[in-house]
């Protein structure tokens, strides 16, 4: 079984658009949306929810004001400025600043702080016309996105084994931080979608550096390549010089937006040259991963 993750560095270059098209084109696959704080793939796949599980990651501190002796130890030990002193409520924890390290609970001489289980999101399994989709919802403002990505991938792997699938297709998050690292660790191929703009190129180079660091094979697709032919040429040249395959190029066409608004993938409605280019991109990735 092969595992492919689609990333970009810069957001909005077309990861999910390409993922949804691949979901339609690939055979015997399980889909995983690894962009857990802005999960969009399901919007194009008409899913029927089959399973929903709460996701617990790190425990979270709670101060029992009846036990609190107002010594302030918790506040002075916390390195994340997550504990404030309220005139009425006494010491209070700012859940959005807390890193869940537990030092406040250890430092409290009155045993007034307990670490409690805390739901930080859900992971979900849905049936779609394109196959099984594992996705997730991270609670608003929660951390632990990397751990939730890992959970989503583990479930996708289990289902793929169960179904005898040949491919796990991961739609990745933007950036190069912890959720991205969690989404690409150990996969067979990363496909980075870029665009011929200064930001697209800059962020592609960051993603390539990250893949290099973890020794993960990388292929590149240039989206909206005709917006700036010169930049597209320099991306190709940079990829050539870096030993990175440019697996495809997609032209700019407002028809892509119309397809998104209609909640269709670009290969399931007429997007002209875009449909052809994405299909050709898939053929090249399919060959590289040696899939049927």
């Amino acid at each position: 079984m092969k595992e492919l993750t689609i990333v970009s560095g810069k957001g909005g270059t077309g990861k999910t658009t390409v993922s949804a098209a691949f979901a339609s084109l690939a055979r015997r696959k399980v889909l995983a949306d690894c962009d857990v704080d802005a999960a969009n793939l399901y919007l194009l796949l008409n899913p029927t929810l089959r399973r929903q599980e709460d996701f617990y990651a790190m425990r979270t501190p709670r101060i029992d004001s009846a036990l609190c002796g107002q010594c302030g130890n918790c506040q002075s030990w916390c390195r994340f400025d997550a504990i404030g002193l309220d005139f009425h409520a006494g010491y209070v924890i700012d859940p959005l600043a807390c890193e869940h390290c537990g030092l406040c609970a250890l430092a409290c001489p009155d045993m007034a702080i307990s670490m409690e289980d805390h739901i930080c999101g859900q992971w979900l399994v849905s049936d779609t016309p394109c196959g099984t989709l594992v996705h997730a919802r991270l609670g608003v403002g929660e951390d632990n996105s990397g751990k939730l990505v890992t959970r989503v991938r583990r479930e996708a792997k289990r289902l793929a084994d169960e179904q005898g699938a040949g491919l796990i297709l991961n739609d990745g998050p933007p950036g190069i931080g912890c959720p991205v690292t969690a989404a690409i660790a150990g996969v067979d191929l990363v496909l980075a979608i870029t665009e011929p703009t200064p930001s697209g190129i800059h962020d592609l180079q960051r993603v390539a550096g990250l893949c290099g660091h973890f020794s993960i094979p990388l292929a590149v697709c240039i989206n909206k390549h005709d917006i700036n032919a010169e930049n597209s040429a320099s991306i190709r040249a940079w990829c050539d010089a870096s030993g990175i395959e440019v697996a495809g190029e997609i032209p700019f066409d407002p028809a892509v937006n119309r397809a998104l608004v209609a909640r269709r993938s670009v290969v399931d409605c007429d997007c002209g040259a875009v449909s052809t280019a994405v299909t050709r991109l898939w053929e090249s990735i399919r060959a590289r991963l040696d899939l049927d």
């Binding site: 909005g12 270059t13 802005a38 919007l43 537990g102 200064p198 930001s199 800059h202």
Partner: protein, 288 residues
């Protein structure tokens, strides 16, 4: 009224945060641009700043003195991030997992067995943008080193460069998780840049929820307002969120962007529109 701190965020990536933030800062006198998208900082590509100073961002990392350590395992047991493991001969420290919280040194019963050293995870650049109004736009940018995960520490360091005498424009990372929260926290206003697609709307709803939890008032910039549906605009109306600016798609602007040219330079009429945007935000803040 003091100069405002405005965070430019979006939920969905690629909707035009950096474009709006860069054009806004280039349209205002005495402003400062702070790039908080430390995983993919892009503002410098359009603002072409002259960097004057680079400061390393470090987090504390435990260092175990094997001569003192008794391998009791208290540190590894207390660490919530699995950043420590005790083998038969020594305590292993996994630097990338460490959050620098200090729990390990707190619980260690042996005096001097754990010392903390500074580990560099990124840097903050500081300088000036020369193509700004009056040539005095300040610039700061955080950059997370490759294969590091502690974005929040670098964002916090970038925000510490904020100059209280200037209008501060914070360019936020995409998403609604901790890096976006860290950027928007404490801002006077949050501009949410979205596009009229199902993706844009879905992520806008999440971003609005974050700003509400943070108690930061928000308004929307609808980018490429003519190449989608009305759902985002309808949502804003239903939620009483002001749409402060609508920007139609122009292939010419997209091409200028692809050459690293800010809109206010490619189409100077935009400068007045971005000034009006800031005035609209100021007006809304002054009423609260």
């Amino acid at each position: 009224m003091e100069p405002l701190t405005i965070a430019v965020a979006s939920g969905k990536g690629g909707t035009g945060k950096t474009t709006v933030a860069a054009n806004l800062v280039l349209s205002l006198p005495n402003a400062q641009y702070i790039d908080c998208d430390v995983e993919a900082p892009n503002g410098h590509l359009f603002l072409h700043p002259e960097i004057r100073e680079r400061v390393a961002v470090s987090v504390p990392l435990p260092q175990i003195d094997a001569a003192v350590c008794t391998l009791c395992g208290a540190c590894a047991q207390a660490c919530q991030f699995n950043a420590l493991a005790v083998s038969r001969e020594r305590v292993l420290v996994f630097a990338e997992l460490c959050h620098g919280c200090g729990v390990c040194s707190y619980v260690c019963p042996e005096d001097g067995a754990i010392a903390e050293v500074e580990r560099c995870i990124g840097y903050v650049d500081q300088g000036e943008v020369r193509n700004g109004i009056n040539g005095q736009t300040a610039f700061a940018q955080g950059t997370l080193n490759l294969a590091e995960t502690a974005s929040v520490a670098v964002i916090a360091a970038a925000k510490r460069q904020a100059d209280p005498g200037r209008i501060r424009i914070l360019d936020a990372p995409p998403g609604t998780a901790c890096p976006m929260v860290e950027t928007v926290r404490g801002a006077d206003y949050c501009l949410l840049v979205t596009e009229p697609t199902p993706f844009g709307l879905h992520d806008l709803e999440l971003a609005v929820e974050v700003t509400r939890r943070l108690g930061v008032p928000c308004g929307v910039v609808l980018n490429r307002c003519d190449i989608g549906d009305r759902a985002a605009a309808d949502y804003c109306q239903a939620q009483a969120i002001p749409v402060l600016m609508e920007i139609p798609f122009e292939r010419g602007l997209a091409e200028a962007y692809s050459r690293g040219l800010p809109w206010v330079e490619a189409a100077p009429a935009y400068r007045a529109r971005f000034q009006a945007l800031y005035q609209a935000i100021r007006f809304r803040r002054s009423r609260n």
